[in-house]
């Protein structure tokens, strides 16, 4: 990681608005600080309900923060004011959400082309790039299918390449493979690493699965239960390219897994 970090999260805090007649809601995230380097694959592990989605929503600027700051390329983003939010930071932060959020009335291909279309960047070259991504994740032949005609894994692939297609410098991923069976999940993890190797984007990947966090990341942050704080930070030096299915047998894996599990208690 060289020089200035690409993304700096400083003292970020969040509590949701109080509802009439209820107790003030607790802090979901409190004084959370970390940085992400350019080209780094950062994984974040936290138990369910620890505020991982809330954290990514704030970084993507679809939700406001109650305190703290987010800097991108040293530029401060005004994320405390709901009216000043700039979702996706002018297409610089991509977000693969927990649900696939495909547009149900668009076919696979037209869903993947959607970002290019709204950004006015649809041309022969970007189209060819989209086709290449579709083939790379095994969706060839399903271009004209609607989302409800795809399996869960295919929808995940489509939503993944919908973000990759417009090449944002940072990509946030929220448990993208959480709801899939083990086999599909391993396949998609491999696809993701292969695609990441081609472009080396900066990725912030959230998961509740320790093995996944180790297998994918350069570094992993462990979050506590809400209010989320950082319970531990680990560099993962397992060399790339990694063999996802065989990663458990790597000597670094076992001890790291144990330490992270202890921190999650």
């Amino acid at each position: 990681m060289a020089g200035q970090p690409l993304l700096e999260i400083h003292d970020l805090s969040k509590r949701f608005a109080q509802r009439a007649g209820r107790e003030p809601p607790p802090w979901v995230i409190q004084d959370l600080s970390f940085t992400v380097g350019e080209g780094e694959f950062l994984t974040i592990i936290g138990p369910s309900g620890s505020g991982k989605t809330t954290l990514l929503n704030m970084i993507a600027q679809i939700d406001s923060a109650s305190g703290g700051s987010v800097r991108f390329q040293s530029q401060i983003a005004p994320i405390a004011d709901p009216k000043a939010l700039n979702p996706g930071l002018s297409c610089q932060i991509g977000y693969v959400t927990q649900e696939d959020n495909l547009l149900p009335w668009r076919t696979t291909l037209r869903n993947v082309l959607f970002p290019l279309e709204v950004q006015g960047r649809l041309n022969d070259e970007t189209r060819a790039h989209a086709q290449m991504l579709i083939r790379a994740v095994g969706l060839a032949g399903f271009e004209d299918h609607y989302p409800h005609e795809l399996s869960g894994g295919m929808r995940k692939r489509a939503s993944l390449i919908r973000t990759l297609v417009y090449d944002p410098p940072v990509i946030l991923m929220d448990e993208p493979f959480g709801a899939l069976d083990a086999q599909t999940r391993a396949q998609l993890q491999e696809d993701l690493l292969r695609l990441w190797d081609l472009g080396r984007k900066t990725i912030v990947f959230v998961t509740h699965d320790i093995a996944e966090a180790i297998a994918l990341g350069d570094r992993t942050l462990v979050l506590t239960r809400a209010p989320a704080r950082i319970a531990g930070e680990h560099k993962i030096t397992i060399p790339r390219p990694r063999d996802i299915r065989g990663i458990m047998t790597h000597s670094e894996f076992g001890p790291l897994y144990q330490r992270i599990r202890a921190e999650l208690q």
Binding site: A60, I62, P87, G88, S90, C91, I93, G94, Y95, T97, E99, N101, L103, P104, W105, R106, T107, F114, P115, V118, Q119, Y146, H148, E149, R162, T163, Y166
Partner: protein, 272 residues
């Protein structure tokens, strides 16, 4: 459609086909039964109260040949279409405008909802007073009756749009206009078509009632004029033609709906 459904369909085509023909036969039988009931009723009640179905058909035939009926149909359709276009335009545009102004929406919503309760037909005398006896009062009537179902459906549709889809579109850089056109419009199409199923027949009904009250052309005028002249056959002919008109419009709407919403998952067992 899963592969299982396909297998089912391939092995039992004759059963499905038989069911389909049975439904068609049933429909034709029911139509004949209704016609017989109408004929019997006409014979019992006498031609002053219930016109003979065959005379009604003959009348429709004769009036069509002379061109009178086509003129009436044209006048009514034109009025319905213009009133519909006006009501539909405002019914769609207003919710989209209000979407940008949440505070104003909160302020005016109870008033709009309360105004739904005003019986529109009761306003016709006022419209005549204000707008004269040309097309204007009738257009107001048709427009208002079309406006409400569409406004309410589109308004509710906009509120029901999946926030996550809007957030996704914002993140990938879609402008507010693009979000309106792509995400919101497509999300509320099912609501819109449901409203059209109410609004389109209403437009024709409202036009006919408007013609009862004002003017000297159109199906409504034809029905009312026949009644005043104790021409029950004319009244029935007008009703039959108006019903046929609405049925044709509905069939066209179903077809358009099918094309626009081809992406929606179909429930195959519902079609059997």
């Amino acid at each position: 459609m899963t592969s299982q459904d396909t297998a089912l369909e391939l092995t039992q085509p004759s059963r499905l086909q038989r069911q389909y023909y049975a439904v068609i036969a049933g429909r034709i039988g029911l139509a004949l039964l209704l016609l017989a009931a109408w004929k019997t009723g006409a014979d019992r009640a006498g031609p002053v109260y219930v016109a003979d179905p065959f005379q009604v058909i003959e009348r429709i035939f004769v009036d069509t040949q002379s061109g009178v009926l086509l003129r009436h149909i044209y006048v009514t359709l034109r009025l319905s279409a213009m009133g519909f276009a006006i009501g539909c335009f405002f019914g769609v545009a207003l919710p989209f405008l209000l979407r940008r102004m949440p505070r104003l929406t909160n302020a005016v919503e109870p008033y709009i909802m309360a105004s739904v309760g005003v019986p529109k037909y009761a306003l016709v005398p006022l419209f005549i007073l204000w707008f004269g006896i040309d097309d204007a009062p009738k257009l107001w009537l048709v427009g208002l009756l079309v406006f409400y179902p569409i406004f309410i459906a589109v308004f509710a549709g906009i509120r029901n749009v999946d926030r996550r889809l809007i957030n996704m579109a914002r993140i990938v850089g879609a402008s507010e206009t693009k979000i309106s056109r792509e995400v919101i419009w497509n999300s509320l199409l099912p609501f819109f078509f449901a409203a059209l199923k109410i609004a389109l027949p209403r437009a024709v009904s409202a036009a006919i009632i408007g013609e009862f009250l004002v003017g000297n052309e159109g199906l409504g005028y034809m029905i009312e004029y026949s009644r005043q002249n104790f021409d029950t056959t004319g009244v029935f002919a007008g009703i039959v033609v108006a019903t046929a008109l609405v049925l044709v419009i509905n069939a066209m709407l179903v077809e358009v709906d099918r094309r626009f919403n081809a992406w929606r998952p179909t429930e195959r067992h519902m079609e059997l």
